[in-house]
Symmetry: C2
Subunit: 703 residues, 2 copies
């Protein structure tokens, strides 16, 4: 049924040559042409299937090996590093194992004096065929166009990453940000993410420019390499992705503040890096000298950055709000399938909406995730909550491992690599220095304002944890049309490999070397997650009950410094944050969810009608459970819940009345939102000890 490629092509060629000499009435050769065309389509389809199958095989191998690693508690190689290795192996096989089909794509030269059109119509013996523009080929690489179809087929359009693969990853990150610790360290996280990334970008850009100049001097530079390209490289490579490190932190229950700082920083700096790279691309100085510092263009770029970032932020927040309102005012919770599907679609649409409006989808989706977690989650039915979390979890898992597999594959399938030793070495030095310039000075300044200092060990660990990953890769592969971009992409790939394997593998030794405390008593997040079904069997939703802060647990452990934490969090909660929290607690949450206090009480009487419209009956029922609503956190890291399989113990008190009599330091006179705030930030430590604790470990054996 299937002829070899060359025979088919010869046949086709013969047929067409014959056809050009036959009259239009002759059917047979045309019929055979059509059949031959269909065969070509089949062959192409088959290759597409093989290409996708390759990736599925990679992912399957990765999953089985991950299981094996978990089974044997292997920690030196994270699943992402593993996916890359498998990608590499398959890349080698594809590159050197599959036959190249020469002659199939012999380039046809047709000169145009105009511009490259998006579509060409080509006249072949009276038939018209439509061609679409794929991209530019540099002259030195023309012969590569003839390379085998297999490599082509496994090479994806970079937009696949930004439209399909990155959104689930980023959304999941936002959806699972441990809000309490995130907000506690909010100032530091924002500083690291914004200032730090900008500093890192600038430093790396300038260092690389020096390297490029050096390369030009020694004659290693074959083509143009601008300053803006260097800056772009700086922005791209500043996007950290310490997924390996965070996974290990998780397993070993390393310090939660460190976890929060790293996780928050990595999530936000992805957003910053992507907007920064767009701004740099938008930097178009007037005049012919692109080196000159053009203040107008510079400020325009800054404006672009701020505009895109805030626009994306608003878009993400708005979608979260809209989803919250929709789920609040419809009875979709009766139909978990519909609710989950809607939730999924609206979250995904944020990304596309932002992209369509010229903003950045990643940032939008990140803030959408945070907003959904904060508002919409409360409106979902119990089943929808678990469904949506599981759905995004599996999408995140598959997408992330897919990207890392692709990275490994791309080393061999990408046909335009440019490896320049000087550039590569320079890049490694630059990112090292850039990270140092990012972490240490900022930490110094932050420590001036923080009561609980970021100590040297933490700083070293953060310095060390500058792994690059999916975002850097995606940004680098987005545009590989020019020489400079191709070199940057190749270098980025090597940097990702090195940091994930070597630095990621060295995390556990580094943790011990730096004496960063790890806890072994608490069940890991995994254990909590894996045994989550226990909750469903006994009717308890772990996300609904207020988990005590890890501080509480450590108070129980008699760990000295933590008693300070109570004070620190109170003072660190900046006035602005407390203001926001009141606003959120009194107005936003009642509008967007079923939580109290009811708007009818908090809004002035002139807005009475509006308040009545926006207040659902559930609010009055929920008054009793104010505490839970206020302290709803999506449990997703080492924070304990003491309610393992036991419905009666709630560590922070499940009824509103609990808090008032036992609050510390005569705070009874504070407003309820203040109480809620302090409560959420873990002030109620004493309650835990007074009620007693009981840990019931999960029933399943996770070994």
């Amino acid at each position: 049924m299937q002829l070899p490629v060359r025979s088919r092509l010869l046949l086709l060629l013969l047929l067409l040559l014959r056809a050009s000499g036959l009259r239009a009435g002759e059917r047979s050769s045309s019929a055979m042409e059509e059949i031959a065309t269909e065969k070509e389509a089949e062959e192409s389809h088959r290759q597409d299937s093989v290409s996708l199958l390759t990736f599925i095989l990679l992912l399957t191998l990765t999953i089985l090996t991950i299981w094996l690693f978990k089974h044997r508690r292997v920690r030196f190689l994270h699943e992402t590093g593993l996916a890359m290795i498998y990608g590499l192996i398959v890349g080698v096989i594809l590159r050197y194992g599959s036959p190249s089909s020469s002659g199939h794509d012999k380039p046809f030269s047709c000169s145009q004096e105009d511009r490259p059109f998006t579509t060409l119509l080509v006249n072949v013996s009276g038939k018209f065929f439509e061609y679409t523009l794929k991209g530019e080929i540099s002259p030195g690489k023309i012969h590569n166009v003839e390379q085998n179809d297999m490599l082509r087929k496994v090479t994806f359009d970079p937009e696949v990453f930004f439209n399909i693969l990155l959104p689930p990853i980023i959304f999941h990150a936002g959806y699972s940000l441990k809000k309490r610790h995130f907000f506690r360290n909010l100032g530091s996280i924002l500083a690291y993410a914004f200032l730090g990334t900008a500093v890192s970008c600038f430093i790396i850009g300038n260092l690389m420019y020096g390297v490029v100049k050096l390369m030009k001097l020694v004659g290693q530079l074959s083509d143009k390499f601008y300053y803006t390209d260097c800056l772009l490289f700086g922005a791209v490579i500043s996007a950290t992705d310490p997924v390996t490190v965070l996974a290990i932190f998780n397993e070993l229950h390393a310090d939660v503040d460190l976890y929060a700082l790293l996780f928050g920083e990595s999530v936000l700096n992805d957003a910053v890096a992507i907007v920064l790279s767009s701004s740099i691309v938008a930097y178009q100085p007037t005049g012919e000298n692109t080196h000159a510092f053009d203040a107008t263009a510079f400020f325009k770029s800054v404006g672009v950055f701020l505009g895109i970032f805030s626009g994306s932020f608003m878009m993400g927040a708005v979608t979260g709000v809209v989803t919250a309102l929709v789920t609040k005012f419809t009875k979709l919770h009766c139909f978990p399938l519909l609710e989950t599907a809607l939730f999924f679609l609206m979250s995904w649409s944020t990304f596309l909406l932002a992209e369509a409006c010229g903003f950045t989808g990643v940032v939008a989706v990140l803030f959408c995730g945070i907003a959904q977690a904060h508002y919409t989650y409360n409106n979902l039915s119990v089943e929808s909550r678990s469904r949506s979390k599981q759905l995004f979890e599996v999408l995140h898992f598959l997408a992330e491992n897919f990207i890392f597999s692709y990275m490994g594959l791309a080393l061999f399938t990408f046909q335009k690599h440019i490896f320049s030793p000087i550039f590569i070495i320079g890049a490694f030095i630059a990112i090292f220095l850039g990270r140092a310039a990012h972490i240490y000075p900022l930490s110094f300044f932050l420590n001036l304002g923080r009561r609980h200092k970021i100590n040297w060990n933490f700083q070293h660990m953060m310095m060390f944890s500058g792994l690059r990953g999916a975002m850097a890769f995606a940004l680098a592969i987005r545009d590989t049309a020019t020489y400079s971009h191709q070199m940057m992409f190749s270098t980025t790939l090597l940097i990702v490999f090195f940091t994930v394997w070597i630095i990621g593998g060295g995390t556990t030794p580094m943790l011990s070397w730096l004496n960063i405390r790890v806890g072994d008593h608490a069940p890991s997040v995994e254990e909590i997650n894996e045994s989550r079904w226990l909750y469903f069997r006994v009717g308890v939703d772990p996300d609904q009950d207020p988990p005590p802060s890890n501080d509480s647990f450590q108070v129980l452990q008699g760990d000295g410094p933590d008693s300070e934490r109570g004070n620190r969090t109170k003072q660190e909660s900046a006035w602005l944050f407390r203001l926001w929290y009141s606003f959120d607690h009194n107005y936003l949450k009642p509008i967007l969810t079923h939580s109290g206090p009811p708007l009818t009480t908090t809004l002035p009487s002139c807005c009475g009608l509006l308040a009545r419209c926006l207040t659902t009956p559930q609010v009055y029922d929920n008054q009793e459970q104010l505490r839970e609503e206020d302290s709803d956190f999506i449990l997703n890291d080492g924070d304990l819940t003491l309610t393992y399989g036991d419905t009666t113990i709630t560590a922070n008190g499940s009824s509103g009345s609990c808090t008032a009599p036992t609050s510390l330091d005569g705070r009874k006179t504070k407003s309820s939102s203040e109480e809620a705030l302090e409560h959420d930030l873990g002030m109620g430590d004493n309650e835990v000890t007074s009620r007693g604790t009981r840990l019931v470990f999960p029933l399943e054996d996770n070994a």
Copy 2:
């Protein structure tokens, strides 16, 4: 930041013209070219986002309206019909609302005397650009190439349907086939699916050939239209998709045998139609006259059909078996995320593997789904079961509604429609006659062998339920290169619209007109599904406990004819089926799952080592629960479970000891597999009445 398209293009044009006159050392114009290229890329990306966003909007609207319809119990318009309407509306907006950008895609004519290459290299002022072959354009439609980008962007490559959208739909159908009723009516279902589809294809093909001849006579035919094209149309349009009807059957609890017949037939005939269309395409008679009946070519086509079908079947079954073994012998069930991801990947890989080997992915995925439901499901952890079911459910839901939205959209965005009134009217008549020739004669012959006849009302309902849907559409859109195929596609689209809206909408009236019994006492599948979380809350897995057959329930209802059913099912269970069942029960299930009887007892002693390897410790623990394991059905339709929220009532007895003393008709002497078989097919009716029943309706209000 964004110039209008025309200005950008003019700029680009000017720049290129300038560039052609400049020396290579000049940077500025080249730099601006690159920037302009990036802007083009951005614009293209933005349009992609808008295109995807359009579909998300469509799906969101559909979901909200579905909820509204469910809320108000609207039954005349199913969600698929709704999705099509929204697709139509958006199609109109896109077609007539968005501006066409003329001049952007002005065709460039470049004559070739050879053949259309897959890749072209075009030389533009010294730069090389790569173009890929998109397809053939008929001369009359050249001007359409200029049409606006928006329509292009929302037009998908047909392979998207076969590679991405259809697999979840078909897999879910296989995964949720209600096995008991499926197997009870297996012979009839196979007859309808295979013979019936072949008959329908042949009849429709011939009738359409007559229509085509007529069109040629009256001069309405502009181009070639072969007999094989007509047969292909017959195959394509024979793929029924009565999703609307089945949904209504579900809601109204119509007769389960009718449901099984329709569902089973539609699922299998999709598979048959797709293989049939491939076989027809493969029919290549030697010689120049494609009308002549070439016996060799005919038998070759038959061989292709059998080969593809059996190959796909084997592939699907093998993947199911492999997944079962993997999940049995690893402890993946400790990690639901990994297990679910693996299950998903392996199921998807079936499709791709089959496609890559030249078989048909749809058939493979269907049988994979059935195999997974039968074997792998038992090895999954409780959480994985729900996760995987929910995952496939949401994917199925989104994919199906997406396809139907796309259908509506395609009426306006597809640029090569050919509407020929004679052909369309002829097609409607042909499908009506084809369906009649499909149903009535076959039912007559089947009734000769069945004890429980398919009565006239059922036959009329089946005749009526010949809706076309996603499969017919996908097959038709797969190849629209030629005049005949374009006409077929346009007609298929209209047929789908008509059948889904008009016939689907008329289902409920038709059911009452035909006096087909509907039940209102039993909770609907939806109610069962929606309240499934109840089971998790009280620790009961409804799929684990053996649900009594619907017969039992009807025995309780005192419904006369059903007492006959017990006898019928026993006698209808053909010898072949009983043989298969023993084999499955004694060997396959013990090998692939943890169910008993242990292989160490059933295999001869020479295979002792093998038996010990393949037998896991759980088997011995499971001996007590043989009954549940044997009668595990994936509960997914109106079959009752009497274990709503009540863990103590199991209608058929949860311990092995229960069945033996109370089995009917002195069957104690039968072998355990025979007992199991009869038990599964619902012989144990008396047990139900003796234990009493108690229905606890779901707690949630589904209104």
